[in-house]
């Protein structure tokens, strides 16, 4: 009986008596969700256009952030302008590196593996993950680095609101992350729906063969999506890097984004955002209000359980394409 009270009553009483804490928790969940969604977005882009479940997205985030910080430091060393010039120069150069990476992946990995089962492509992205871990550490070293947030003019500090008889504080960087994520999603959705390349991308997603037969270049499309995923990774890397350090530990975030991915559906861009918010808010609420019951640390698997519950009702995720099977 006592346990039932603790599960079904106490957390809600707590929410009612301290609404400011509830708002704070909700906000943190929202931010975490948006940041997960950014990573999930990278997965979705690549899965949509090439049917590859790209495990390397997590390490691409780290790699992009490391390149940005490393290149900026090098530019400063060479005496390039004030800090922000070097930072924005590094941003452009990093985008170019991601383009090179996309091209290399297409050329050396995807093209020879055309027409292979999905699991083989999945494993190949594992190889890519290992390669990038080694390559990144070789070039930039394994120690954590500080993101050049100030040079990129990212806001710092916190906004405090007085509401519901208490204080709610929002980190400015979190607000910026939410705004940037929303802009990115909107831009990508427009890109997919309205542009010529976007139409080609959707055609490739539907059927490689049919797309080829109407003259769409698969190579070009793949480079484009991997590049887009690289840019998303760069944005993710900046945001996560500004909140903590830039280190290889960030790649475990990729695992955090997987429940978001299956919850929203592998093929849906809005799904990534909605899934991210559900997972982020669910995770933070669960950890804050129900976590003490089980001992802390339930954050590590709660997201998966939430996603699993949704999947039992919708096996293709909330917004995924309906799975139609034929004999």
């Amino acid at each position: 009986m006592d346990l039932l009270y603790k599960i079904f009553l106490d957390p809600f009483v707590q929410m009612g008596t301290a609404p400011d804490l509830l708002v704070q928790t909700l906000w943190e969940g929202l931010v975490a969700g948006v940041l997960y969604a950014l990573i999930a977005l990278g997965y979705v882009l690549i899965y949509k256009a090439s049917g590859v479940f790209n495990f390397a997205q997590g390490i691409m985030v780290v790699f992009a952030a490391l390149t940005l910080v490393g290149v900026a430091a090098r530019l400063r060393q060479w005496g390039v302008g004030p800090g922000d010039v070097a930072a924005y120069g590094a941003l452009v150069l990093t985008a170019l590196v991601m383009l090179g990476l996309a091209w290399g992946v297409e050329r050396l990995m995807l093209r020879p593996l055309v027409n292979q089962p999905e699991i083989i492509l999945f494993m190949a992205t594992f190889g890519l993950t290992y390669f990038l871990i080694g390559f990144g550490e070789l070039l930039f070293g394994g120690e954590p680095k500080v993101m050049i947030a100030d040079d990129l003019h990212l806001p710092r500090g916190a906004l405090e609101f007085k509401m519901l008889g208490g204080f709610v504080s929002l980190q400015k960087i979190d607000v910026a992350a939410a705004v940037i994520a929303s802009i990115m999603v909107a831009a990508l959705a427009l890109f997919f729906q309205k542009t010529r390349i976007g139409r080609a991308l959707r055609a490739v997603a539907d059927s490689h063969k049919a797309a080829l037969s109407v003259g769409i270049s698969l190579e070009q499309i793949w480079v484009t999506v991997w590049f887009a995923a690289g840019i998303v990774a760069l944005a993710t890397g900046i945001m996560w890097g500004a909140r903590s350090d830039v280190s290889f530990a960030l790649q475990t975030l990729a695992l955090k984004a997987l429940p978001v991915l299956i919850l929203g559906g592998f093929t849906s861009i809005p799904g990534a955002i909605v899934g991210g918010v559900i997972i982020g808010v669910g995770e933070k609420l669960g950890e804050f209000y129900w976590g003490p019951l089980l001992g802390s640390g339930i954050e590590s698997w709660l997201a998966y359980v939430i996603a699993l519950v949704f999947l039992l009702f919708r096996p293709q995720g909330l917004f995924g394409e309906k799975i139609i099977e034929r004999i």
Partner: protein
Amino acid sequence: MLYREAGQFKTTYGADQSVFPIRQDRIGIALILFAAFVLVPLLASSFALSAVFIPVLVFALAAIGLNLLTGYAGQVSLGTGAFMGVGAYTCYKLTTYFPQVNIIVLILASGLGSAAVGSVFGLPSLRIKGFYLAVATLAAQFFLSWSFVRIPWLYNHNVSGAIEVPTRTMLGVAVTGPNATPLTRYLVVLSIVTLMTWVASNLLRGRIGRTWMAVRDMDIAAELIGIRLYSAKLLAFAVSSFYCGVAGAIMVFLWFGAAEADSFNIDQSFLILFMVIVGGLGSLIGSFFGAIFIWGLPIVLRAAPEFFGLTIRAATVEHLQFMIVGALIIFFLIAEPAGLARLWQIGKQKLRVWPFPY
């Protein structure tokens, strides 16, 4: 010339359906078993036994377990490491409660605990398919990893949070614990792995294996010809977890000697998935090849710079090793997506028709 079945006539159904219908294969397997049971113990140093042979066998067993599920029944799982952990912790609890029972019996019994947990986490597999299922099995991985840390009962409330393997003897010889020699441990591991591989190969040749393969090839079609999907998939999860559980138990009891929750983390799951894919999906011998390749590659890479007389900093070697392993995985997938087992088959076929091209 030597490897040819011409002239070997089968006069009974039994002979036709034996595990190794070709005489040369029987001789070959006898030679391999002889080498494994006699030559290796005679020639290998204890370091080689505990650093190379025991790990390869343990991983091969785990890879067979995952291969049953992923390669034969077509259900991708990323929770292998956790299921190995369940086996190890079950064995630890069992030997705590029943210290007098033979440790080998307990190791095999601990697979049952793992099988039970595995079939619970296999429950979503009827609704969820493909990568959605793969990600859903990560729920098992993370939940179980968390339990290994947060449930002190599992590790007998040790302060260190680790499980320490007690000494258990069999016929007066220490089999587990710090006093057991690498040789004894190797022989025990080898016997268990041989036995379980044999069981698996027979399981796969029979009704159950065929059911799994039908489910893998197309589950709706399998359902239409009267296969009960739910029981087939759950059985696959249970048997696979059984194998992984036993592999986990021997990993801790006969190789590590002590383990904590971190030994069964997600990297372990991925490592074994590598072995299965590189070795060949749906092939028992491929599981062995995969284990040898993935475990042996870093050892070779570490030794390589010295061999060529190069001096590279240790950290650089490690980074290069990551890069080379990654590149080699991609290379192997491109060169032979069906895995090392396929190369083995091609080689055998070439031998059969030699000296003719086909």
